[in-house]
């Protein structure tokens, strides 16, 4: 699948650049100001608003997406240099009728209050499943420390993640 997008760019400088972005399995041909972050491009150009802007400085983790299978802060990535990268957002994990197990666990464990940090939390939590994270709750807290929850839903976030990890069995992915 592919799609054409030209909206949402600031061409005041006349140097907008074309880039082919692969997001959730779809290739998008976009034209962006070099200054545009991947976060702003996802939200403003591709209208994938599940990825949230919190601090916009790589401190809070609300904008976490996967780039080539690894989690990253999309607010510190320029959209124009992401060609050839495989980007996954919260919209690419599951759908309302078919939730990713981590999304289902967050629901089951009430792992949020306002929900603003939740998509970033879930993107980090899914990435954690394939990272060398130890088994304890403290290990999970350490690996999740790049995602801030102002409501303080941390205990339930840890519980949700541990639920998914236990359901996968020792040392294995589902």
């Amino acid at each position: 699948m592919s799609a054409q997008h030209q909206a949402g760019t600031d061409r005041a400088d006349g140097t907008s650049v074309p880039v082919s972005l692969r997001v959730n399995g779809t290739t998008h041909a976009v034209v962006v100001d070099p200054r545009m972050t991947l976060l702003d491009c996802l939200r403003e150009v591709l209208h994938l608003t599940g990825t949230k802007k919190g601090c916009d400085h790589g401190q809070c983790g609300a904008c976490t997406v996967h780039i080539d299978g690894r989690r990253a802060n999309s607010c510190l990535a320029l959209a124009a240099v992401q060609d050839g990268r495989e980007i996954t957002t919260i919209e690419g994990l599951g759908s309302p009728g078919k939730l990713h197990p981590m999304q289902a666990a967050f629901l089951e464990h009430d792992a949020y209050q306002c929900g603003y940090c939740t998509s970033g939390q879930i993107m980090s939590a899914v990435a954690l499943l394939s990272e060398p994270c130890g088994p304890s709750d403290d290990d999970v807290r350490e690996f999740m420390s790049g995602n801030i929850c102002r409501c303080g839903a941390y205990p339930n976030i840890v519980a949700a993640i541990q639920r998914v990890r236990r359901s996968q069995g020792p040392g294995g992915k589902s």
């Binding site: 005041a12 400088d13 140097t15 650049v17 070099p34 200054r35 972050t37 916009d56 400085h57 790589g58 983790g61 976490t64 780039i67 690894r70 989690r71 990253a72 802060n73 510190l76 990535a77 320029l78 124009a80 240099v81 980090s124 990435a127 954690l128 990272e131 060398p132 807290r141 350490e142 690996f143 420390s145 790049g146 995602n147």
Partner: protein, 332 residues
């Protein structure tokens, strides 16, 4: 964010030629390389970095971690902090480096932040990051509000009347203890720089942070082979247990032989305007037993030059205890 022109370097020569057009490779550079971007894009949003040209070097062949014939290791400039920390060879032989990297930032940042970018990361001094305030590092001659202001996190070693900003890197502290060498390709010459000679003290020109010149491209870092009996540890003390910069930290590597210390190296983070090492303090431990008393004497020597500010006097004693505890763990 200020407008800039974005280009992708086709090869190293093109990257170097593009960057050589800048009048400086330090604060105020008009051309910047883009690798992980975790420092650069952050500071561009703040208006602290104002490059006119950004040269994307992410597609250059600057990766890879390779064991060298002499048992040392060579690490490509674009190797991510995550890949470096989790590398089997690094974990086995340079444990303090792996621990130091994992003690810094978050997984999201470590997944994209590069080796060279970590070496070049800028201070977290709040006045440097706030363009509404003076800062001698950002605008030489404008003044240093930190000296009379919020200086709890600032440096106590290597400071000057112009700047007391601390170097924030954990990785570089461990690399300094391991005698790392930075390899650079430049517009006119390639050279290898001992990490200990790479960072500059602020003195009267805190805007000059390292010896890089316009066009210089860090290609890789090497570390010499380690003795099989060496044990190394990184200990970081901070206000939060995770995802926080160091108040003080220590990387230590020790070889014990017949109950005596045959080799000792340690470096300090969070306390210096650059990663800090005091060879004289290490020397006092050679041939000695690994006792708390001996560690304490070395720690006193390492901090002898400390010049605390109004809010960070606690760092002097905390740093000494950090050195003692790290050496204890490395000799346990």
């Amino acid at each position: 964010m200020k407008v800039f022109a974005l280009e992708r370097a086709a090869d190293r020569a093109a990257a170097i030629a593009a960057a050589a057009a800048s009048t400086t490779a330090q604060q105020g550079a008009s051309v910047r390389f883009l690798a992980g971007g975790t420092t650069l894009i952050d500071l561009m949003k703040l208006g602290v970095e104002l490059p006119e040209r950004i040269v994307d070097i992410t597609r250059l062949d600057l990766g890879g971690i390779e064991e060298q014939a002499d048992g040392g290791v060579s690490i490509g400039a674009s190797v991510t902090n995550s890949d470096l920390a989790h590398n089997v060879l690094v974990r086995q032989r340079y444990a303090a480096l792996s621990e130091a990297i994992l003690a810094g930032a978050s997984t999201q940042l470590r997944n994209v932040a590069s080796l060279a970018g970590n070496l070049l990361q800028r201070t977290r001094c709040v006045y440097f990051r706030n363009t509404a305030t003076p800062c001698n590092k950002r605008e030489p001659g404008s003044g240093c509000p930190a000296i009379t202001g919020a200086n709890r996190m600032m440096a106590i070693l290597g400071t000057s009347d112009a700047c007391i900003a601390s170097n924030p890197s954990d990785m570089a502290v461990a690399m300094l203890a391991y005698d790392a060498t930075v390899h650079v390709e430049g517009a006119s010459k390639s050279r290898s720089i001992a990490l200990n000679d790479f960072f500059l003290l602020p003195q009267a020109r805190p805007d000059l942070e390292n010896v890089l010149e316009p066009g210089d491209l860090i290609t890789h870092v090497t570390m010499p082979a380690r003795p099989a009996a060496e044990r190394s540890v990184y200990l970081k003390l901070r206000d939060r247990v995770s995802y926080e910069f160091a108040l003080v930290s220590t990387a230590a590597a020790v070889v014990l032989s017949d109950g005596r210390m045959a080799s000792v190296r340690f470096a300090l983070g969070g306390v210096g305007t650059r990663p800090w090492r005091v060879p004289g303090a290490e020397q006092t431990l050679i041939g000695q037993a690994p006792t708390e008393q001996n560690f304490r004497r070395a720690a006193d020597l390492a901090l002898a030059g400390a010049r605390p500010q109004s809010q960070n006097g606690f760092k002097v004693e905390l740093a000494k205890r950090c050195v003692v505890e790290t050496l204890k763990r490395a000799t346990r």
